[in-house]
């Protein structure tokens, strides 16, 4: 297809408006069907048995008693999921994570599963499975895991990315390095150097809907999977590979999804449910409990980061360096690498060096969490930047403006930037009334910048025009927060019709070509590109049908405002034909009218944001409270501004929880102590103020409407903005996230005592 994705600067009539979302009515009436809201006739209940040990050899599993329990239809272990990964190390880790193979690697690691006629039988059956463990020494802290004396989680791991292969195995799977220039020389030119170390604790995406699926494997090798996921096509590929099914015979339907934030980009229990169904010969519904969600899905990395930044008296940064250690759970990851790439991406630096270390720990497998790895790196860097500005006596916003990256700057991760939005978000922050608002006693203000890459990827869309002139849009990117509304707006814009004439649905894997998942802020960016392309293809056909009706050459027919128009004086008496009129006659002009599009939506364009935050700290308890919060972010073009604001506010709120309260707490025994919403407390309504937003629109040159992804960047600055505000309010630099009351109080008391 000849599709030109370049920004065209058109005037919009639908895009930028704020209509009701098409799936809204189902969601406010309780009719929308999420992962656990679907049932199949004769379905069994699946339950998973999990390791209570952080690290243990599985010597023996005896399932015989469970199998004999009345009502139990299948019991599986790793033996029922043979290794079909064919040397694909990443998929082998996914398989091992779904069901432990010989060794349990964290508290909550699946070791067996049952399918039974009801939940209480399934629970009883789990108790009858006898497992003999040999408990091994464990390590859960990222710094401890790097020590030479730490227990080895996988003795086949020899650190990649070193000049020479190390002689001994370790828990460090990989070293990565980015940067340019000569930091040693750069620090030599600095008048002031700030050097600090930071830690961040592990957090969970905290989606309210636990993982849930219904799996049905038929005797003929066909299968169906109903599942809450950010990417049903990816789940299909992974499940098919792990189960040895043919991908096209496994139909995966994505349910409505109750939050994902990166945590539903990954299969956890779905292959287990399919394996249970295959063994039992019946459908199996498997829903995780909240405890399982915390112990065995999702979390982000815990980190330990050293930052060193030097500047001249005039405020020019001369060199910047960071060492970043990220935990990845018991399997190799690339999380520190991403942190190392994003850490200094906001700045124009002649000399910069970042080094990342991926570290294995006995914790659940790290999964992506909204702009994965970037918030922790930004916390460390932006805290040090604030300290440096303070030591130089320069306003923190001015200091950042002076050193901000711009078009033509070599980014800290390598390439030279095109048009970018960091400068405009900083200028907007400088002039925002929030920056000048007075502060009260025990209050402090902080600000910080954030960067994220944004992705595009494989995308496929079908646009079908009904004979009544209504339009159905079938997309393959799961709608996690209003993308059916934004994509309908885009289709309405391109076709020149009313938004109400359209209905967008998320198609299952058998109804549409492959789509990458909704991650990397790509949902609206990539599917809108495919929607525009599909609409343009439909318009070609609509013009052709009008030309047939009029019996004139198609080149004389143009498409304007939802109508075919015969161009030229000689056609003066031909009345324009609406989409509806052309559709009504489609049966006799060549059959159904549709537009399809299959493309790779590359050129997503990097994204920047600046956040401002006011905090009040109670010096008696150490409790920090957000009293005002402002998000300023470049959207390229906000297709549905209300949902763009929603993304900004939601990311900020997640960042606030991470900064102030959320953390995985492990005991000495390596077991997670707070696997529930009571003890892992995410922000509630009374914890937060209104979150103000300012949308900047610096068009992305690689999208016809200038759209950039907006979903993730909003979680990058909050950790740092809040840390800067707490530090200003408490009068002491906070270096450990979350800044929970005991940590803040300890810092205040240490400062008083010192």
């Amino acid at each position: 297809m000849n599709f030109d994705p370049r920004f065209s600067g058109r005037k919009f009539s639908s895009v930028g408006t704020r209509p009701l979302r098409p799936d809204g009515i189902d969601k406010v009436t309780g009719r929308a069907r999420y992962g656990a809201d679907f049932n199949m006739a004769g379905q069994l209940v699946g339950r998973v048995l999990r390791s209570p040990h952080a690290h243990a050899k599985i010597l023996k599993i005896d399932t015989s008693k469970a199998e004999k329990l009345a009502g139990v239809k299948a019991v599986i272990t790793a033996a029922d999921l043979p290794d079909l990964t064919d040397g694909d190390a990443g998929m082998y880790d996914v398989l091992d994570n779904c069901m432990a193979r010989g060794k349990a690697l964290y508290d909550g690691h699946a070791v067996a599963a049952v399918a039974a006629v009801d939940a209480s039988t399934a629970r009883q059956a789990l108790k009858l499975i006898e497992i003999e463990y040999e408990i091994l020494p464990h390590v859960t802290d990222v710094d401890e895991a790097m020590k030479h004396t730490a227990p080895l989680i996988n003795d086949a791991i020899f650190t990649e990315g070193l000049e020479e292969k190390p002689a001994k195995p370790s828990n460090v799977t990989k070293r990565s390095q980015f940067g340019h220039g000569d930091v040693h020389q750069g620090f030599g030119h600095a008048d002031v150097i700030v050097e600090r170390s930071f830690k961040t604790e592990q957090t969970h995406q905290g989606y309210i809907e636990p993982h849930a699926c219904v799996a049905n494997v038929n005797l003929d090798g066909t299968a169906d999977l109903w599942v809450c996921t950010q990417g049903h096509f990816v789940y299909r590929q992974h499940c098919a590979q792990l189960l040895g099914l043919e991908a096209s015979k496994l139909r995966v339907t994505s349910s409505e999804i109750g939050g994902g934030f990166g945590g539903k980009t990954h299969v956890w229990a779905e292959p287990v449910a399919l394996a249970l169904s295959r063994k039992a010969g019946r459908p199996v519904k498997l829903v995780m409990t909240r405890d399982e969600v915390f112990r065995a899905s999702g979390p982000t990395s815990a980190t330990s980061i050293d930052v060193k930044i030097g500047a001249r008296k005039d405020g020019t940064i001369t060199a910047a360096e960071a060492t970043l250690r990220y935990s990845s759970g018991p399997y190799a990851g690339t999380w520190a690498e991403i942190g190392a790439m994003t850490a200094f991406a906001c700045y124009k630096l002649d000399n910069v060096k970042t080094v990342g270390f991926e570290v294995l720990v006995n914790r659940p497998k790290t999964a992506a969490y909204r702009a994965p790895s970037a918030p922790m790196a930004a916390f460390a860097v932006e805290s040090a930047v604030d300290e440096l500005a303070k030591e130089l006596g320069i306003d923190p916003v001015e200091f950042r403006i002076k050193n901000a990256a711009q078009e033509g700057t070599r980014s800290s991760y390598g390439p030279v930037y095109g048009p970018i939005g960091i400068g405009p978000t900083l200028e907007a922050a400088k002039h925002h009334p929030h920056m000048k608002a007075p502060l009260g006693k025990n209050q402090g203000r902080g600000m910080a910048c954030g960067f994220w890459f944004n992705f595009g990827g494989q995308t496929c869309v079908d646009l079908n025009i009904g004979m009544d002139g209504s339009v159905s849009l079938a997309v393959g990117t799961v709608d996690v927060g209003g993308s059916r509304a934004s994509l309908s707006l885009v289709a309405a814009e391109e076709l020149g019709i009313d938004y109400a004439q359209l209905k967008a649905v998320v198609a299952d894997t058998s109804s549409l070509g492959y789509n990458d998942m909704t991650d990397g802020s790509r949902g609206t960016f990539s599917s809108s590109m495919a929607t525009i392309s599909a609409a343009r293809n439909a318009i070609k056909i609509l013009r052709d049908r009008a030309a047939q009706t009029w019996d004139i050459p198609v080149d004389d027919v143009v498409w304007e405002n939802g109508h075919a128009i015969a161009k030229g004086e000689k056609y003066g008496n031909l009345a324009a034909l609406s989409l509806k009129e052309i559709a009504a006659k489609s049966g006799t002009t060549g059959g159904p009218i549709a537009g399809h599009s299959e493309l790779v939506a590359d050129g997503a364009g990097v994204s920047f944001a600046t956040h401002i935050c006011d905090i009040e700290v109670d010096p008696e308890t150490g409790a920090a409270r957000v009293i005002r919060y402002t998000v300023i972010q470049d959207a390229g073009k906000a297709v549905h501004p209300t949902y763009v604001e929603g993304q900004y506010q939601g990311g900020a709120a997640q960042g606030i929880g991470w900064a102030l309260n959320e953390e995985y707490i492990y005991g000495k025994d390596g077991r997670l102590q707070n696997a529930g919403f009571l003890d892992y407390r995410i922000p509630v309504c009374s914890d937060l103020p209104m979150i103000d937003t300012q949308i900047l629109e610096i068009p992305n040159p690689n999208h016809p409407y200038g759209v950039r992804g907006v979903g993730e960047t909003s979680i990058v600055p909050p950790l740092a903005a809040i840390a800067n505000a707490v530090s200003n309010a408490a009068g002491v630099r906070m270096t450990h996230i979350p800044m929970s009351p005991p940590r803040v109080l300890a810092a205040i008391e240490a400062e008083r005592g010192g």
Partner: protein, 81 residues
């Protein structure tokens, strides 16, 4: 002939060079020639490498042309949330 900048780990596989010259008109040809010249890089291409052309990152469009004089930068392919 385009000049291609490699990130750290990839540079080691190309004999410690951070920049290599390759005769390639698009990303597909670039990957093919890199794999021929530096076989160690091939598994990385299989796993996924992104190519930044004048600052815009391409992850999957292997047909993308490499303009003469453009800045070509290879990057690891990342995960998103």
């Amino acid at each position: 002939m385009v000049e291609v900048t490699l990130w750290g780990a990839l540079g080691q596989l190309a004999g410690g060079q951070s920049k290599v010259e390759v005769e390639a008109k698009d990303i597909r040809e670039l990957f093919r020639k890199l794999a021929e010249q530096y076989p160690g890089i091939e598994p990385w291409i299989e796993k996924g490498i992104a190519v930044a052309i004048d600052g815009t990152i391409y992850r999957d469009t292997w047909s993308k042309e490499l303009p003469q004089g453009a800045e070509i930068f290879l990057l690891p392919r990342l995960a998103g949330g």
